[in-house]
């Protein structure tokens, strides 16, 4: 765990309980039981574990969608409250990409109005001058054609939807991107394209990422460090290569045995493939 240098995101002793009653949530089911992790600037932390291990719960706490029962979540030393109660610059600093690409976008809104909502909510990030041109530039950076702007989620493929979701998240110039199983619902080929896009954007926008996945192969491709979660606690944490090649915890070993081979090349900083992709 990196100490010393100033961390971007710092999660300390996080406890989240589902169900149960009362302020103390007695009798509930503990989804997260004392998780601590940190993400340095421009670092990607992969959070892996099987379903039900509490990874998504951690992500939702960081994004402010869930209130933890105990523990602190800080960003550059400032506490992150619930979404909507954060000061605007903190609200912008942490953005999230969701698992299901199609339902991440309001089915009644066009891509243009999705992005317009972002700019209306955070006028600081709104482009000066021609917004249509700025929108097209933003879409092009995600490898999307300009004509996508007038379409709705139902008319787009899963990969395109996920590119739009990433565009929405990056439109407010965040410092930390939380990706909750962001590529899990996609076809393998599209998965690779989105991973390459994320890797490219991470470099260009100096993003830190909290990358949550159950897929060790995917995490291997994109993460600098890996934390392995099981039943609400982190059982192992370390540099990606070390954890995935020489795991110390038996659970990590079991996960690795269950996964496919990890010999996929780490994505280069190549450009995103054409607009028709996705």
């Amino acid at each position: 765990m990196s100490t010393g240098e100033r961390d971007l995101l710092d999660v300390r002793e996080l406890y989240v309980t589902y169900g149960g009653r009362g302020g103390g949530r007695r009798g509930g089911h503990a989804a997260v039981a004392g998780v601590s992790l940190s993400v340095a600037p421009e670092e990607t932390l992969g959070l892996v574990g099987e379903s039900g291990s509490g990874k998504t719960t951690v992500a939702r706490c960081v994004a402010g969608l869930l209130r933890p029962r105990a523990g602190t979540v800080t960003f550059e030393g400032r506490p992150l409250g619930r979404a909507g109660h954060r000061p605007p610059e903190l609200q912008r600093a942490v953005q999230m990409v969701f698992q299901d690409p199609r339902s991440s976008l309001n089915p009644r809104m066009t891509v243009a109005s999705v992005i317009a909502e972002v700019w209306r909510t955070h006028p600081v990030t709104a482009p000066e001058g021609d917004r249509t041109e700025a929108l097209h530039r933003l879409l092009a950076a995600m490898g999307l054609d300009p004509d996508v702007a007038s379409r709705r989620a139902g008319d787009l493929s899963g990969g395109q939807c996920q590119r739009v979701s990433i565009a929405r998240a990056l439109a407010v110039r965040p410092r930390l991107l939380v990706c909750d199983e962001a590529v899990s619902a996609l076809d393998v080929s599209v998965q690779a394209q989105i991973l390459r896009l994320l890797a490219e954007l991470r470099g260009r926008h100096r993003l830190a990422m909290l990358f949550i996945s159950h897929d060790l192969g995917v995490v291997h491709q994109i993460a600098d460090r890996v934390a392995v979660m099981r039943r609400g606690v982190i059982v192992e944490e370390g540099r990606t290569v070390e954890v995935l090649t020489a795991p110390r915890h038996p659970y990590t070993r079991a996960l690795l045995d269950a996964a496919l081979d990890l010999d996929d090349p780490v994505p280069g900083d190549g450009t995103a493939d054409g607009g028709a992709a996705g």
Binding site: R60, A63, G64, L65, A83, G84, R86, P88, Q91, R92, V94, Q95, M96, F98, Q99, D100, S103, S104, L105, N106, P107, R108, M109, E117, V118, T121, H122, R152, A153, G154, D155, S165, R168, V172
Partner: protein, 295 residues
């Protein structure tokens, strides 16, 4: 609008566009006729409920009246034309039905959406209120309210809406509860979109289908309840023509002059049945659970 393009492109949604038999259009047509009559009828037919002509009383349908015209549907005990009463009654029924449903809908959808989306204390309180009010027999509450004050159209609307909004609130709350878990709502919250905007833009539009279907069913109930109140003589002022009042006027002549109660009764039943079927059709098409499909 977009539903059309989706239907053309996606084979998944294509079966939805199968041609429906013409018979299923009947309810919509009948309801349309009623609306037309309610809108234009009073312009074409002159009727004054206070003007009575005693030599024309209790005429059978089709008889000549003293003024020279024909009473196509007969006259009542005070010599007033029945066709005119039915036409003017249609206007009253539609007017009260629409305004009551609009009022119930506004209150119900608003409270239901707030309870379902924001949860917390507001939801706990509102949900209990819904449950308690639902346990009240609706027509009894309407009778108490309508009977306690001076008769007026507004009073009837308020009395009927007093319980009508609960169904809207409960349905909307249920939809809002499921919609608030959708990723696009989460995404808007992470962006910091204010709660009211999230509710208005990302939640409420998706309640439209079920709410419209429910409004239709509720309309039928309201029209029936209004006729009931007027029949009891506690709803509308006597100067307002209402099917319920006409039916009540004819109850002493049921054996001999059957048309006075029967004809407005048929008009009422036809409207209720057709609106009910229309509501069921709408529920089947836009009811719960299908509100989120792309469109």
């Amino acid at each position: 609008m977009a539903g059309l393009t989706v239907a053309v492109q996606g084979p998944r949604t294509a079966p939805r566009r199968v041609r429906r038999p013409l018979l299923s259009l009947v309810p919509a047509l009948v309801v349309g006729c009623y609306l037309l009559v309610a809108a234009v009828g009073p312009v074409l037919i002159h009727y004054d409920p206070v003007h009575t002509s005693l030599e024309d009383r209790l005429l059978a349908p089709g008889s000549r009246v003293s003024g020279g015209g024909t009473a196509w549907l007969g006259t009542d005990g005070l010599g007033r034309d029945l066709l005119a009463q039915i036409v003017y009654g249609a206007r009253t029924a539609v007017l009260i039905g629409v305004s009551t449903v609009a009022l119930s809908c506004l209150v119900g959808v608003l409270l239901g959406a707030v309870a379902g989306y924001f949860r917390g204390v507001a939801d706990a309180v509102l949900a209990r209120i819904f449950d308690v009010l639902l346990a009240f027999p609706a027509i009894l509450l309407a009778i108490v309210i309508a009977g306690a004050f001076r008769r007026s159209v507004l009073l009837v609307v308020v009395a009927l809406a007093a319980t009508g909004w609960i169904t809207f609130a409960r349905v909307t709350r249920g939809i809002a509860l499921s919609l608030r878990e959708r990723p696009w709502v989460d995404a808007a919250r992470v962006l910091g979109v204010p709660g009211r905007t999230v509710l208005a833009r990302h939640v409420l539009p998706f309640t439209a289908g079920p709410v419209v279907a429910l409004a239709t069913l509720e309309f039928a109930l309201v029209v029936l309840a209004e006729a009931g109140l007027s029949f009891l003589g506690i709803g509308l002022p006597a100067s307002t023509v209402s099917w319920g009042q006409t039916i009540a006027n004819g109850k002493e002549y049921l054996e001999t002059q059957w048309w006075i109660s029967t004809l407005p009764g048929i008009a009422l039943s036809l409207l209720i049945v057709n609106v009910g079927i229309l509501g069921d059709q709408l529920t089947a098409r836009y009811g719960r659970g299908r509100s989120d499909r792309t469109g």
